[in-house]
């Protein structure tokens, strides 16, 4: 098993063997084709797509908790996750597709947390370079240079969105099961 395409095939093969497969992944970060490739690979298989959404501020809290948990396998790279947020969410063009709001202040505070976190392992210059890149990315993605608060939307289409800041994992799972039953019986 090597590339992501082969991993997608593994998911399909498991489904064809009668397994119900729960795919835990972060698709479409580097390449939009990744999402397309996944759907292409799932041809003929029933798929319920779910966006697991965690708002920006809560997401940063989760990362900090993980990174100070003392468990190395739980540690995450704050820079990568902040970049992922910019890839998975876009500026909402209308209120219909808006899933949440994001403020300039939240991003400024978030980048300050990232600055502190990165300074533990990187030189001051490297940290400032990273923060500057991230700030530009957020300004560009969410037009934060001209707006104090913007609506955000998902980059991709899903059957369901679950908000992990509003509901715990068990409640989110119940919502997913309900949506799954609804889609299957449609």
């Amino acid at each position: 098993m090597k590339t992501k395409q082969e991993l997608h095939q593994l998911v399909k093969d498991l489904a064809l063997q009668g397994k119900n497969v729960i795919v835990d992944t972060t698709l479409g970060i580097f390449d939009h084709d990744e999402v397309f490739d996944f759907w292409l690979a799932m041809d003929g298989i029933f798929v319920l797509s779910v966006l697991v959404y965690c708002p920006f501020t809560e997401l940063l809290e989760h990362i900090i908790c993980r990174n100070y948990s003392g468990q190395h396998d739980q540690e995450r790279n704050i820079k990568n996750i902040l970049s992922q947020f910019c890839s998975l969410y876009i500026l909402a063009r209308s209120s219909n597709c808006m899933i949440d709001t994001l403020t300039k202040q939240e991003v400024v505070d978030g980048l300050q947390i990232a600055r502190q976190e990165l300074s533990l392992t990187k030189s001051e210059d490297a940290v400032e370079q990273t923060i500057s890149k991230l700030a530009k990315k957020y300004e560009h993605a969410f037009s934060l240079s001209t707006h104090d608060r913007v609506g955000i939307a998902s980059q991709y289409c899903y059957d369901l969105l679950v908000n992990t800041a509003q509901y715990n994992a068990d409640e989110c799972a119940k919502q997913i099961v309900r949506a799954c039953v609804k889609k299957i019986t449609k």
Partner: protein, 95 residues
């Protein structure tokens, strides 16, 4: 009648029920893995596949072979080193 029964039996044997797929997509640390665990408890015959974990396990294996990372590094350290050598490791992975 006999032929019909044989046909039905053959059909029943050849049809294997197909499972379904629940795709949980989101940023790292959004809570996908915790939801996956809860879902597995609620859905029969279910299996959790962490695509990124599998993908990175492969990347780490290749990086170890290329000696880009040290064996005694933590998972997170290896992950960060591989980010800087992604092109080299990915080329090797595709071979």
């Amino acid at each position: 009648m006999k032929i019909q029964i044989i046909f039905i039996c053959l059909f029943a044997c050849s049809v294997q029920p197909t499972g379904f797929v629940i795709l949980l997509n989101g940023t790292s640390s959004a809570g996908k893995s915790s939801i996956a665990v809860c879902l597995q408890q609620k859905i029969s015959a279910s299996i959790v596949v962490s695509l990124d974990e599998l993908f990175w396990s492969n990347m780490i294996r290749i990086a170890e072979q290329l000696e880009v990372v040290d064996l005694d590094m933590s998972y997170e350290q290896k992950y960060m080193v591989i980010q800087n050598h992604k092109k080299q490791v990915y080329q090797e992975l595709k071979k």
